[in-house]
């Protein structure tokens, strides 16, 4: 009929309801902890993924190649107009030596063979 606890007596039906509510609350708390952990992990992964995506899509990363392509085609065009017989294309490569200006006076070298 009734259960006693701490000097109080409760009907059995009420005890079941209370137990159900406690179980539901514990389940919801576990769900809250799981969702918080999942959100934290997802956010950390998101920083890495979005940072990587950002690195690939940042302005300049793709426009640089476009610019060099247009420069290359311009060079080819000018080459073909100046020399109509030359049709072969060996590909354009950037020079590894920097272009520098020199203001030193000329030096005469004597000797040698």
């Amino acid at each position: 009929m009734a259960l006693g606890g701490g000097g109080n007596t409760y009907p059995m039906q009420m005890m079941d309801t209370v137990q159900d509510r406690v179980r539901a609350r514990d389940g919801a708390m576990r769900l809250l902890n799981r969702m918080t952990t999942g959100a934290a992990v997802s956010a950390l992964v998101g920083v890495g993924v979005l940072g990587a995506v950002s690195a690939h899509t940042i302005p300049g990363a793709t426009s640089t190649s476009t610019a060099s392509t247009s420069t290359a085609s311009a060079s080819i065009t000018s080459s073909s107009t100046s020399s109509s017989t030359s049709t072969s294309s060996s590909g354009l490569q950037s020079s590894t030596t920097p272009v520098t200006s020199s203001s030193s006076s000329g030096v005469a070298v004597s000797g040698g063979s």
């Binding site: 609350r25 919801a28 809250l32 969702m35 959100a39 920083v47 940072g51 950002s54 899509t57 940042i58």
Partner: protein, 195 residues
């Protein structure tokens, strides 16, 4: 640390912070509406809202710290604290500082809610409705690739989510179960005072 790593971390953390902040605003609106179901008690919405808000502050701190210590940008700590004091995109970066300080005020007052009282806390908490759009504007104006497809799509999802939740909030009205009783009581008091 590599400069580019800091720069991309700043951008990634900024995007994640916007997503988290949008989720916090949506959950805040849902908690006001007292949304619940059999498997989703009301305290779950409030608890998730609180946890995500604290998480937002952590990722916002990551966003700010990596931006400030990045030697390429030279933003300096002053720009992170004093709005519109940065040499770089002064207005748009200043909006970010304003959003950060509004958010900080909301979190601090929430942590000391017991001391400052419910009405003061509620007043400051209304700032969240100002903090979020300011943060969105900061993202659009400051982000180097804010108009790239992925970031634009992310921001659009955030805007639509918050707008839908706010619209639902406006249409649903008050979900306070005692609202009718309170209004009838207030009407009775008003009648008695007018006599």
């Amino acid at each position: 640390m590599d400069n580019t790593l800091l720069w991309y971390t700043t951008r990634g953390a900024g995007a994640v912070t916007l997503v988290l902040l949008s989720a916090v605003v949506v959950l805040g609106i849902l908690s006001v509406l007292r949304v619940q179901s059999a498997g989703w008690p009301r305290f779950l919405t409030v608890g998730l809202h609180r946890n995500l808000a604290l998480m937002t502050i952590v990722f916002l701190a990551l966003h700010i710290v990596t931006a400030v210590i990045d030697p390429f940008t030279h933003l300096g700590w002053l720009a992170a604290v004093v709005p519109f004091s940065s040499y770089y995109r002064t207005f748009w970066l200043g909006l970010g500082t304003v959003a950060f300080e509004l958010l900080l005020a909301i979190v601090v007052t929430s942590l000391v809610r017991g001391f400052i009282g419910q009405s003061a806390w509620r007043l400051v908490h209304w700032l969240s409705y100002a903090s979020w759009p300011v943060a969105v504007l900061h993202g659009f104006g400051t982000g180097t690739d804010a108009w790239s497809a992925w970031l634009f799509g992310l921001q659009a999802v955030c805007i639509v989510s918050v707008a839908a939740a706010a619209g639902y909030r406006l249409m649903a009205g008050s979900r306070d179960p005692l609202a009718a009783a309170r209004s009838s009581f207030q009407a009775g008091v008003d009648r008695r005072e007018s006599k």
